[in-house]
């Protein structure tokens, strides 16, 4: 009885769908945190590879002559879903990730950084020259790192 049930279930399709979901969602939820898994999403690509193999074998099983049309439709949809998730991940990382301005006129290595005056956390104006000269840990700073970032959200 047990083995009959397992056969009916087409477990490769189900695990394939589930694993595709995990492969897709674990990028924004988990692996985006570390540069080593973010810059190239290799963990997610490995998970997708396994998921697609499972989906492939599930599809093959569903298209055996003794299977019903409904299981063929479901399996096909499941396979499309898995491939679409993979395409979505690649699109976000490699296409949307590069939607940045060219910044071709940004200052370059060897040039003087353009001076500026901006307000600090206490709404007090601070100049770049101050940042470069005012003591840091009771010593003149050896350097200043400017990090431009998107904002708090």
């Amino acid at each position: 009885m047990q083995s009959q049930f397992v056969q009916k279930l087409n477990w490769p399709i189900w695990t394939g769908v589930l694993l595709s979901l995990v492969a897709g969602l674990s990028y924004p939820l988990v692996f985006v945190r570390w540069p080593i898994t973010r810059e190239v999403p290799w963990v997610n690509l490995i998970l997708f590879a396994i998921a697609l193999v499972l989906l492939f074998f599930g599809l093959r099983r569903a298209f055996k002559p003794d299977k019903r049309i409904i299981s063929r439709i479901f399996s096909s949809l499941a396979a499309v879903f898995g491939v679409a998730l993979l395409a979505g991940l690649l699109f976000v990382v490699y296409v949307m990730g590069s939607w940045l301005p060219a910044s071709s006129a940004a200052p370059r290595v060897g040039q003087k950084a353009p001076d500026f005056t901006l307000n600090d956390l206490n709404d007090k104006p601070v100049t770049l020259s101050q940042l470069l000269t005012e003591p840091f840990n009771n010593q003149p700073p050896k350097g200043v790192l400017l990090i431009f970032y998107r904002g708090y959200w």
Binding site: G97, S103, N119, L121, L145, W153
Partner: protein
């Protein structure tokens, strides 16, 4: 996602202090937003500067017009390491949002200042 880069620099803050490198964060956020979210809630200890009019961000050619996620004009990610004379000695202006500077790269470059 957006703050994983900043967080990695905060985690290495003691190394930057040892190296005598002042870490400065610049964004369009108003000071009160930075105080609330970056300092009080997230615990960052950078020197934060506010550029809501995008004056400096514009002068450095870093304006990301109508950025998709926010729908606003903000700064694109970019990092500049300056020596005490204000000369840029290392920089990263990434061409992919998912690939930004790592603190190790900056600390390595800071050794040569």
């Amino acid at each position: 996602m957006c703050q994983s880069e900043l967080r990695s620099f905060q985690d290495k803050m003691n190394k930057f202090e040892e190296a005598g490198i002042r870490v400065v964060g610049i964004s369009v956020d108003k000071p009160e937003k930075t105080r609330e979210f970056m300092v009080q809630k997230a615990g960052y200890t950078f020197t934060f500067l506010s550029d809501p009019q995008l004056d400096t961000i514009g002068r450095y050619d870093l304006v990301h017009t109508k950025e998709l996620a926010s729908g606003k004009d903000i700064s694109r990610p970019a990092e500049f390491l300056l020596d005490p004379s204000g000369t840029i000695r290392w920089q990263m202006i990434t061409d992919n949002f998912f690939k930004t500077a790592r603190p190790e790269q900056v600390l390595e470059a800071a050794k040569k200042l």
